[in-house]
């Protein structure tokens, strides 16, 4: 036997090291509480991996984690949030090839098209990182009032936001809905694309190593309708982005459930992912806090604030 053929045999005999995809909740990577998984296939129907099939209890745990993380994330300076988001983009850059492969498999794209999607997603992440300390100037205001007061409106994060990621665009679409939510200081419970959840689950590995505090983003995979229902009805979720609710009946039911505690709802709408995203998704999950502060002279000298 020649040495070449024995190397070939050894290579052929090497056991595959398959990745166990897991949920991302509170900075940890648990399996689904239910123990369930479901098969994920590529665009041609070939098996890719088993993804965890999250249950309503996983959704509940994710909301608890997101609520716990909210105070710290919302209270962090906008500058720090920008730094951390930019760090995420740096980490994504280092794993470009992995994401390009996963996107190519998930969406049936050519290598170059998938790579272009990943590049666009990373650029978009950087773009939103830049917005963290600018949104207050754009969405806030100094309001003229009929009295000796400063009147300032300042945008504040709304709280825990449930995000149903787009079903078709597994990575660029995902980044387009997730980044604006956390950029402004909200925390997110993300329900990944049902058919193509792997890029989202891999993204959580990036988030876990990018100084993003645990619980700010929680990633669930599984049946969108099953996970979205308890999230929409959850009394401790403040807003829900229905982008991934493609079925009109589902979207309507979720909106009705969300009305129970007056959640902010972003209805599903066609999105041109290639276009400039604008600030629409940043401002969708903001509250406006308005502060009155007395102005006027500080005594006889006539000097003012």
């Amino acid at each position: 036997m020649s040495s070449k053929s024995s190397t070939d045999t050894a290579r052929a005999a090497r056991l595959g090291v398959l990745k166990t995809y897991k949920l991302y909740v509170g900075g940890k990577f648990p399996r689904s509480e239910s123990g369930r998984v479901y098969e994920v296939s590529d665009a041609k129907g070939n098996w890719l991996a088993n993804a965890p099939q999250a249950s309503r209890k996983d959704a509940r745990d994710a909301v608890v984690a997101a609520r716990k993380a909210f105070g710290g994330w919302a209270g962090a300076t906008a500058y720090l949030r920008g730094q951390i988001l930019y760090r995420i983009a740096e980490m994504l850059e280092g794993r470009r090839d992995q994401f390009a492969r996963e996107v190519a498999e998930a969406e049936g794209l050519s290598k170059s098209k998938a790579a272009a999607q990943v590049d666009a997603a990373i650029d978009r992440w950087v773009w939103y990182a830049g917005w963290t300390d600018k949104i207050a100037q754009v969405a806030g205001a100094a309001n003229p009032v009929a009295g000796p007061y400063f009147n300032l409106s300042s945008p504040e994060p709304t709280g825990v936001v449930a995000v149903l990621a787009p079903q078709e665009s597994s990575f660029l679409g995902l980044v387009s809905v997730l980044a604006p939510v956390i950029a402004t200081g909200n925390t997110a419970v993300l329900v990944a694309s049902e058919r193509a959840p792997l890029p989202a689950l891999s993204l959580s590995e990036v988030l876990a190593t990018s100084d993003l505090p645990g619980g700010v983003v929680n990633v669930l995979s599984g049946r969108t309708a099953e996970i979205a229902a308890p999230l929409a009805a959850h009394q401790d979720v403040n807003a829900i982005d229905l982008t991934g609710a493609e079925d009109a009946d589902l979207a309507r039911d979720l909106e009705a459930a969300a009305a129970e505690n007056l959640k902010r709802v972003l209805r599903p709408q066609p999105v041109d992912l290639a276009a400039d995203p604008g600030t629409h998704r940043l401002t969708a999950f903001l509250e406006t806090k308005t502060v009155w502060h007395p102005t006027g002279s500080l005594g006889a000298s006539g000097s003012g604030y």
Partner: protein, 329 residues
């Protein structure tokens, strides 16, 4: 039923002094030591495995609803902070009487638990509701004071109207093997407590071994404790399923031997409904149904109540609730 406040009449054949059956054992420190060290040793691995196995029971739907209401009715709603104000104790009392203002069907808690100087305030806050007022005493939580000071502390609480007294044992004396001192101190506090029910806190986290917890349990029961309680909530290790299981075995065996029923109160570290239900399973499987009542089993807790209320709301509405829908204490 979970809705009933703690009954005043003893529900067991137990008004006799249990110490009468143990006069030999309590004759001297030597005899007491011989008795306590003659108790069977604890199989630590078996105990923890048993506690963990019982924790895996699945309690769902109507059984869960029953367990949640029962657990609420067993809570000693506790505030033991240096920063306690009359206002805080007052609102704690209000919460004990109406844990969930949006649902008047919610059972009351068993008691509120405060420091002696807050007893009068707490009494006023729960007046007429059937909710008891428990007071910690005997130089809680360290228990490092002269006997006279401890007894004065107890009398203070009882005079202010405390229905229950939570005393701490002298762990230093216990660990040094001076069991008779601990015994006599509990006897003295029991006498000073008068009609108030006496809970004896062992601070299991400081007793080092399971054998010591078993010895302390028997020592406390012989001395006349109405309740044996795991911990103060002020140290690292508080109530665990294993140490509570051990104490439940002790009260079961004690009743078998003397006919006297003693209650158990795990305290500290029980924060979720899931944990509370696990403890109720332990009670049912170890001591038995007789203890599934707030006269014989209590939870020393504060944040547990909010989690039970959120679970209760979830069962009622089908929607997960959140901390915005319960009071902040």
């Amino acid at each position: 039923m979970p809705n009933t406040p703690p009954a005043d009449a003893p529900a067991s054949p137990a008004s006799t002094d249990p110490a009468a059956s143990f006069t030999d054992a309590t004759a001297s420190n030597h005899a007491l030591r011989a008795f306590l060290h003659g108790l069977p040793g604890v199989d630590a691995v078996g105990l923890e495995a048993r506690a963990a196995a019982l924790g895996t029971r699945s309690i769902k739907t109507s059984a869960k609803a029953y367990a949640i209401d029962l657990a609420i009715s067993m809570i000693d709603l506790t505030t033991l902070e240096g920063a306690d104000t009359p206002g805080k104790v007052g609102s704690l009392g209000a919460k004990a009487v109406h844990p969930d203002p949006t649902d008047r069907e919610t059972p009351r808690t068993a008691a509120v638990c405060v420091y002696p100087d807050m007893v009068a305030t707490a009494k006023e806050a729960v007046a007429g509701s059937g909710v008891k007022v428990a007071s910690v005493a005997t130089a809680f939580p360290a228990g490092r004071a002269a006997l006279g000071v401890k007894l004065a502390d107890v009398r203070d609480a009882v005079d202010a109207g405390a229905d229950e007294v939570d005393m701490v044992i002298d762990r230093g004396a216990f660990l040094a093997g001076n069991y008779l001192k601990v015994y006599e101190e509990i006897r003295a506090v029991k006498e000073a407590s008068g009609d108030a029910r006496l809970k004896v806190i062992f601070e299991t986290g400081e007793l080092s071994t399971y054998d010591n917890i078993r010895r302390a349990s028997w020592l406390g029961m012989i001395a006349g404790a109405d309740f044996i309680k795991t911990s103060t909530g002020k140290v690292g290790v508080n109530a665990t399923p294993a140490n509570t299981l051990l104490m439940l075995q002790a009260v079961r065996d004690f009743r078998e031997r003397t006919g006297v029923q003693v209650g158990v109160k795990p305290a500290g570290g029980i924060r979720t409904s899931k944990d509370a239900v696990k403890f109720l399973v332990l009670v049912n499987e170890t001591a038995g149904e007789d203890w599934l009542d707030n006269r014989w089993f209590r939870f020393g807790a504060s944040s547990l109540l909010n989690d039970l209320l959120m679970q209760r709301q979830k069962l009622a509405t089908g929607r997960y609730s959140g901390p915005d829908y319960v009071t902040v204490d």
